[in-house]
């Protein structure tokens, strides 16, 4: 399918079509000229739903016969979902999302994907992380390249942080890489060793002929100073709110404490999984959604209480959605296009931003994408983070508004 460019459908001239396809969900751009909050305080929180979350059982087309016909066992009845509109309900576990919807702080973008979709987890995740074409292999991620563009000469590479023990490709740039840690105290304790500090202090850095060893020392020194910095910041104004005692709950607690501090972080990255529900999907998705819902409920409440909700844009994505039809093991197999959630106190357009997936127009049993995720990245980079998206994405992608 040919992706319709913004220019093309503007020429169509139908206002209905244009508003349907041109989501306007972020308001940061207008706000900035008032200097309401310093632009440096706007942050993005990316929540990765690893494994391929089943989008159709997340945002449910409750009036669609095809949905129920293809999912006799897995389809979620209209009466069980959380009704958003006459046609659309959310998964029953996503109560906080329904509240955010009613409150005007939730945007749902349907049918997000890319041309020539790959159904392998690692390849499709790679494509989302690197923002590459599906036949292109890149070694740097889109947030990493944001760091490269943003962080020239900045002393601490803490502009992008991942709450995890392993750094994702998304956060690896050519020159600068984000920093991953599970807990600021643990990061501090493991790196706060006199030995490492002594070595770093005494290394003679050859700036003229930088060798691999200099690169290693540079990474080590930055890690040590960042670890101190992050730990200090995490103690500055730690949140006192209650968070669920889950892994994701703890991660969001860490993120909010850092948002309330004076840290220079612009992007937070965290993952939840596994959504790879080939078998007994219902139980597994429900369990993960409960963890996600409770963590996000606490997080958004905390941000509102502290009057920072308007500075935060939280977005979710998954490497792909799942097949429309259920499989024989009460699960679903790998699919293609999927929905994304946008949460924040400053969304330009709220609610269900574009049309629900068209279940009559499938390719090999899978949804066709309508919005390229790279247009989403371009919009977030440009409108929310004020960055040079063309440089970062290697190409000018149309903004979604």
């Amino acid at each position: 399918m040919v992706h319709i460019k913004r220019r093309q459908f503007l020429q169509v001239g139908s206002l209905a079509t244009a508003t349907l396809f041109v989501p306007k969900f972020l308001k940061a751009f207008e706000k900035r000229e008032f200097n309401f909050v310093p632009p440096g305080n706007k942050v993005v929180v990316i929540l990765q739903l690893s494994g391929g979350n089943d989008g159709l059982n997340t945002v449910i087309p409750v009036r669609n016969d095809i949905y129920y016909r293809e999912r006799p066992k897995l389809g979620i009845e209209r009466s069980k979902g959380l009704s958003l509109t006459d046609e659309v309900s959310l998964h029953p576990e996503l109560t906080a999302f329904a509240d955010l919807y009613n409150d005007g702080s939730l945007g749902i973008l349907n049918s997000v994907g890319y041309p020539n979709p790959d159904r392998s987890h690692f390849r499709s995740m790679d494509i989302w992380h690197t923002a590459s074409q599906s036949d292109q292999y890149l070694n740097t991620g889109w947030v990493g390249r944001y760091l490269d563009a943003q962080c020239k000469g900045c002393d601490k590479p803490t502009q992008a942080l991942e709450i995890d023990d392993v750094l994702s490709l998304a956060l690896k740039g050519d020159n600068i890489k984000g920093l991953a840690f599970k807990d600021p105290r643990r990061l501090y304790n493991t790196s706060h060793e006199k030995y490492y500090k002594d070595l770093a202090k005494n290394h003679k850095h050859d700036h003229e002929h930088e060798k691999p060893v200099d690169y290693l020392y540079k990474t080590m020194s930055e890690t040590l100073s960042s670890a101190d910095y992050i730990f200090q910041q995490s103690k500055l104004r730690p949140t006192s709110a209650d968070y669920p005692k889950t892994e994701l709950g703890n991660s969001f607690k860490t993120i909010s404490s850092l948002i309330f501090s004076d840290i220079n972080t612009k992007v937070y990255y965290v993952s939840l999984g596994s959504f790879d529900t080939h078998y007994n999907q219902q139980q597994q998705q429900q369990r993960l959604f409960k963890e996600m819902n409770d963590a996000i409920a606490a997080f958004t409440k905390d941000l509102k209480t502290n009057n920072r909700f308007q500075d935060v844009l939280l977005m979710t994505f998954s490497e792909f959605g799942r097949r429309v039809a259920q499989n024989a093991s009460s699960g679903t197999d790998h699919g293609t296009a999927n929905n994304m959630f946008f949460i924040g106190g400053d969304l330009k357009q709220k609610g269900i931003i574009n049309a629900m997936p068209d279940l009559t127009d499938l390719q090999d049993g899978d949804l066709k994408y309508k919005v390229d995720f790279k247009n989403v990245y371009a919009t977030v980079l440009n409108k929310w983070l004020g960055a040079n998206d063309k440089l970062i994405l290697g190409k000018q992608y149309d903004y979604l508004y």
Partner: protein, 493 residues
């Protein structure tokens, strides 16, 4: 700096193998690198043992199908979903065993060059496949052809069930050609990007139609799916089949150039490529009709390989790092599955390359998390320290199942929630014995020269000395070694 004979030999072991083993230490100063290489080459010519780790329970399902009737029935009806699920789970477990088995071989074998070369090809012919039998077969193809003829290796891998399946050639049929396989063969295995046209790929894909495999992992040519019409590929026209395409690709000098440059970066210097050397090597590689052992001999017996600028110039891959530690320090690891956790955390799990392009290597290995873990590993081994480490699930490996890392006796030794403890018995006595005869006043310098590939004294000695235990000679040797291994310099080879 004068490059000593010892340093040259260490450089050779680092690149043509996985580093110096304890028992090599005594020969480093006296034996010439040429002789050393000849020994490595000789040991590596031996035919490798076939690794068979597949569990008997699924072996029955696959290999026990000797009678044709049953096989046909299976093929027709497919396996039922429970059996498929069981096979997948067991297969994933067996892949871990295959990983550890190969790791042990890298540590212990004298055929260092063969296994190092095999690791290179494992990344070059990057492939993911959950089927343990197919993976065993492909690994055997790679290991037994690692130093042979590149054409033979290319053909063996291209006809392996794992690769054909991974690159979707099962779906490449006369009526509906699938270009994935043809594209990767040209882009990644032979010519490199920019040396063919989209039309070459389309035409080559037609030639590969009908290439398939059976349930036993044997190559099958499905005549009725093959398009036997005329094709034009890289300027040649004929009724080509898949073998013809591979031959056409091998006739291109560009293939020799592409492979040689990649080998040069992996084995000589990943940062500074001396194009005149690459040209010289690739001409000879092409003229030899792609003799890999010839190419490696050209590299490792050339004086320029031992130039100062090439020594310690590459960043060790996680496999090189871990295997290197285990070669220098003889040890028994009780918690052997922790090595898999380290592979995951450091970004290189055998049999799970990040994508078809393989591991990018170099600086890509290093970020704050991976570097700090690398620095800590020697200490964790020495002290049996407990540590916390959570790695993200890999859905291609786990299919949505929560991995059981907390299981007792799984070789992981999980202690508390998310905590682990390495249990390893290092034979410090054997290691320390290698330094007998070295006076205490020279001991630090001698250990440093063995452990690190960087210039002597490049590391800050006072910092190191502040963390060492001088109570006994053995403790001294032990703590100096571990302290030096916990440095940025140790990440280089």
């Amino acid at each position: 700096m004068a490059v000593t004979n010892q340093l040259k030999n260490q450089h050779l072991f680092c690149r043509a193998g996985f580093g110096v083993a304890t028992e090599n230490l005594k020969d480093l100063a006296g034996v010439s690198p040429k002789k050393m290489y000849a020994a490595l080459e000789k040991a590596s010519n031996a035919k490798p043992e076939y690794f068979d780790v597949a569990d008997n329970s699924i072996k029955g399902i696959f290999m026990g199908i000797s009678d044709v009737a049953k096989m046909e029935e299976l093929k027709k009806n497919g396996l039922d979903s429970d059996t498929r699920k069981r096979i997948r789970q067991q297969s994933r477990e067996d892949l871990k065993s295959l990983n550890l088995k190969w790791l042990d071989e890298m540590i212990n074998t004298d055929a260092q060059l063969r296994e190092k070369m095999a690791l290179f090809w494992h990344g070059h012919f990057a492939c993911r496949d959950i089927n343990i039998f197919f993976q065993q077969l492909m690994l055997a193809d790679i290991r037994s052809n690692a130093l042979g003829n590149f054409g033979d290796l290319l053909k063996a891998v291209s006809k392996s069930a794992s690769m054909l399946g991974f690159l979707n050639n099962q779906q490449n049929k006369k009526q509906h050609p699938n270009e994935n396989f043809a594209r990767e063969v040209m882009e990644l295995f032979t010519l490199g990007r920019g040396n063919y046209t989209e039309n070459d790929i389309k035409e080559a894909a037609r030639a590969f139609t009908g290439w398939s495999f059976n349930i036993k992992g044997e190559f099958v040519f499905r005549k009725f799916q093959h398009d036997d019409g005329k094709k034009t590929i890289l300027g040649k026209t004929g009724n080509f089949n898949g073998d013809d395409v591979l031959n056409i690709l091998l006739e291109q000098k560009q293939t020799a150039k592409y492979i040689t440059k990649k080998i040069y970066k992996f084995f000589v210097n990943e940062n500074e490529v001396d194009q005149s050397k690459v040209d010289w090597l690739s001409d000879r590689f092409y003229q030899s009709s792609y003799s890999i052992s010839g190419l490696m001999n050209d590299i490792f017996t050339s004086d320029w390989f031992y130039d100062e600028k090439n020594i310690g110039a590459n960043i060790k891959s996680p496999i090189e790092l871990m295997v290197g530690i285990r070669r220098l320090l003889p040890m028994e690891i009780e918690t052997e599955q922790l090595q898999l956790l380290f592979q995951r955390a450091l970004g290189q799990v055998l049999f799970y390359p990040p994508n078809v392009a393989g591991w990018p290597g170099g600086k890509n290995w290093i970020d704050s998390s991976s570097l700090m873990l690398r620095l800590r590993i020697p200490q964790l081994i020495k002290d049996d320290d407990a540590f916390q480490l959570n790695v993200k699930s890999d859905d291609d490996q786990q299919m949505g199942m929560k991995e059981n890392t907390q299981k007792k006796g799984a070789g992981m030794n999980a202690i508390a929630k998310g905590g682990f403890q390495v249990r390893a018995n290092v034979d410090w006595e054997k290691y320390a014995k290698q330094f007998d005869g070295v006076g205490r006043e020279h001991l630090y310098d001698v250990i440093e020269s063995v452990v690190l590939q960087t210039k002597p004294g490049s590391i800050h000695e006072t910092s190191v000395k502040s963390v060492i235990d001088s109570s006994t000679r053995e403790n001294y040797i032990k703590t100096v070694t571990v302290a030096l291994m916990g440095t940025p310099e140790f990440q280089l080879c």
